[in-house]
């Protein structure tokens, strides 16, 4: 039946790779070779992008707002730090996964608290959990090192082969690889029926349940997955900086995360990546110009972004690339930024 194949074609529309996406990733990879002196900040951006992607999974797709995502980041960070510090798992990739799983367990356990309630409640419950964890980490300073953080973490080479270097080259490519793999996985998930059902729940939980979607179970699943991602981001943080200190749990980290995601746009996975680049670059730019008052300018940019409207900004930003691609490939608008905010 032609209608059926038509339906199949259109149903897969969003799941297909666009040229723009391929170009995007090639560009990211190219950065690794173009700016060999900036590995650190680029690694920082990648970590932040991964972390933001985790928030996007719950906020952009399932509509769960969180101001305490740093909880999972922190657990991942400390888990990776402790594993390395005590030599429990020396191989970074394995340690990364274990740290992610640790965060995932916490995610699963706390998901039951989070799925109830309205947005504001969720914000505050998640925030409360992160703050409690921070307080706990401070209290159990014999394990966590208290305010001094974990001291003396030394990372072993990746796969026993590639050592972390001072310039952060290995760290960058390692982070990029992790980000890309997890991105592929997330991309697959969000385009599955499961991913679509999350969007349905975000749009209208009442109707979602009325077509047979087990709403709570889906929310728990995605929240747990997001916790895993955040844990991995945290573990990457520790592995690439050899630092784990209390501020991994800090409110500011969760709040920045929210800003990054909102700047980049929610619900299409690239928001985190774009937001991370924009946010960090702005921070870097302003704090170089004025180390004391850079917050003012960041604030101004945020205000302007909102007043001008993110959609319009995206359109402006994408105008040139689209124009070029259209000229070259003769296709219609290629890169588009869907907006779907909670």
């Amino acid at each position: 039946m032609t209608a059926a194949s038509d339906v199949g074609f259109h149903a897969q529309r969003q799941a297909r790779w666009h040229y723009g996406e391929v170009a995007f990733w090639l560009m990211v990879l190219a950065c690794g070779f173009l700016f060999p002196t900036r590995y650190l900040i680029m690694t920082d951006i990648l970590r932040l992008a991964l972390f933001t992607m985790s928030l996007d999974l719950i906020l952009g797709y399932a509509g769960i707002v969180s101001l305490g995502h740093a909880a999972f980041f922190g657990v991942g960070a400390y888990a990776a730090g402790l594993l390395a510090l005590h030599g429990i798992i020396n191989e970074p990739v394995l340690a990364l996964i274990v740290a992610g799983l640790a965060a995932m367990v916490l995610g699963f356990a706390t998901s039951f608290l989070v799925i109830r309630g309205v947005d504001l409640t969720r914000l505050m419950v998640t925030l409360g959990i992160a703050l409690l964890l921070e307080a706990l980490a401070e209290r159990f300073s014999n394990i966590t090192g208290g305010t001094d953080g974990l001291q003396g973490i030394e990372m072993q080479p990746i796969f026993g082969e590639i050592p972390f270097d001072m310039f952060g080259k290995a760290g960058f490519f390692y982070s990029l690889a992790v980000l890309f793999v997890l991105f592929l996985f997330a991309r697959r998930v969000v385009h599955s029926p499961f991913g679509l059902s999350l969007r349905a729940i975000k749009n209208n939980p009442l109707r979602a349940a009325a077509i047979g979607i087990p709403v709570n179970r889906r929310l728990i699943a995605i929240y747990t997955l997001a916790a895993f991602y955040a844990g991995i981001a945290g573990a990457l943080f520790t592995q690439t900086t050899a630092i784990a200190s209390l501020d991994v749990f800090a409110f500011e980290r969760s709040a920045d995360l929210m800003l990054v995601l909102v700047i980049g746009g929610t619900g299409y996975l690239y928001g985190g990546l774009i937001g991370a680049v924009v946010f960090r670059m702005l921070q870097e730019l302003f704090s170089t110009i004025t180390p004391q008052y850079w917050q003012f300018w960041i604030g101004l940019v945020l205000v302007v972004i909102v007043l001008v409207g993110r959609q319009r900004l995206h359109r402006w930003v994408l105008y040139v690339p689209n124009l070029i691609i259209r000229q070259v490939a003769g296709r219609k608008a290629v890169v588009a930024v869907p907006e779907s905010d909670a």
């Binding site: 650190l40 307080a135 001094d148 953080g149 001072m166 900086t241």
Partner: protein
């Protein structure tokens, strides 16, 4: 290469911003006074904000070393920040001049670390000794629950109880603590001779205000502690309740030397307020960098610079100080001061001096 670059990493934003500002100001002042060339080299300061978050410190330090090719890294508002940069100093073989952070272990983390600030052990042990000798038998302690607070508490207790004093109540307050009322009430109920207090810079004002509000001063309960609680930066704003507070510290804006008078006057003129102990640490920090360069004759080899710094001795606004050649930590006088009114303003007036105090945290180990 005729410039020497100093990467200055300070908390310029966030809760520790006033530390960063004081140090930056002091450095500016020093360079105005002494010129920006030394041993034929021009000194260039590159300031980075780390908001007292260690991973930012580390990234900033790494960028400074790798991209800006700095010859010194300096600043560091809090201990974790100083520690985060330590391995980089070792790897890059450049001096790390710590101008604020006060935990003992810091200088042990890298052979390239020198400190011009203080350690908490220095003033806490001294005030402990002083207290027992001056008729204070029962003390209640109120310290912020984080590493420096615990350091202060432990060093104080060690000397105080060794001298025969008794700690009757011990309260640790959360780091972010808006209201001291319940803790102070506990202090009051314990009826000690004095309260030993350590709270992070900035919260001293809150503490003293509420101390007075609750009438602990009238109940005859004194405040003693390391000087953070009566930091010159805020002291004048705290009201008369602080009068009589006795603290042990490295610096008072009322230190009666000519050099200090000039320093305070110049600082006030340039920035409109009094310098605190953070300012003087910064001032001495940059001085140390200048002196080291003088001694190496402009050679920027890290090992040579560190060698040159070891054993340096000079007169600072706070009094005579030196760098311990073994530990690279600061050796300085610790003064016992009492808050008094001088010309209508509140000052920590020094009345006893413990000379050339080393970091007791290390020497005892």
């Amino acid at each position: 290469e005729d410039t020497v670059k100093v990467g200055l990493i300070l908390p310029m934003t966030g809760g520790q911003a006033s530390t960063g500002k004081q140090i930056e100001n002091a450095i500016k002042l020093y360079m105005q006074q002494k010129g920006d060339t030394v041993a034929g080299k021009k000194i260039e300061i590159i300031l980075k904000d780390d908001a007292a978050i260690p991973d930012k410190t580390k990234t900033a330090a790494q960028e400074l070393i790798v991209n800006d090719k700095v010859n010194f890294i300096a600043g560091f508002g809090v201990t974790p920040a100083a520690l985060a940069a330590a391995p980089l100093a070792t790897q890059a073989k450049i001096p790390e001049v710590v101008m604020a952070a006060g935990t003992s272990i810091i200088t042990e983390r890298s052979p390239y670390i020198v400190r011009t600030s203080f350690t908490l052990a220095q003033s806490s042990t001294i005030i402990g000794d002083w207290a027992v000798k001056n008729g204070i038998k029962k003390v209640a302690t109120l310290t912020s629950d984080y590493a420096p607070g615990n350091d202060a508490l432990n060093f104080f207790k060690q000397n105080f109880t060794a001298g025969g004093g008794e700690v009757v109540e011990e309260v640790k307050t959360p780091l972010q603590n808006p209201d001291f009322a319940p803790f102070l009430q506990r202090m009051k109920d314990a009826k000690p001779d004095a309260i030993f207090v350590f709270v992070p810079a900035g919260q001293g004002g809150n503490f003293m205000k509420q101390y007075a509000e609750r009438g602990l001063d009238k109940a005859g309960i004194k405040v003693i502690g390391p000087g953070d609680v009566t930091d010159d930066d805020l002291l004048n704003n705290m009201g008369d309740a602080v009068l009589g507070t006795v603290t042990a510290h490295l610096y008072s804006a009322a230190h009666p030397s000519q050099m200090n008078k000039d320093f305070v006057a110049a600082y006030k003129k340039a920035f409109g307020n009094r310098p605190g102990f953070m300012a003087v640490s910064g001032y001495d920090g940059i001085h140390l960098i200048y002196e080291a360069l003088k001694k190496t004759n402009g050679d920027t080899n890290g090992d040579k610079l560190i060698e040159a710094m070891k054993g340096q001795k000079w007169e600072s606004p706070r009094g005579p100080i030196s760098i311990d050649p073994e530990t690279r930590d600061i050796v300085q006088n610790i003064y016992i001061r009492k808050v008094e009114k001088v010309d209508g303003e509140l000052y920590n007036v020094e009345f006893a001096t413990f000379e050339a105090v080393k970091d007791l945290g290390k020497t005892k180990k």
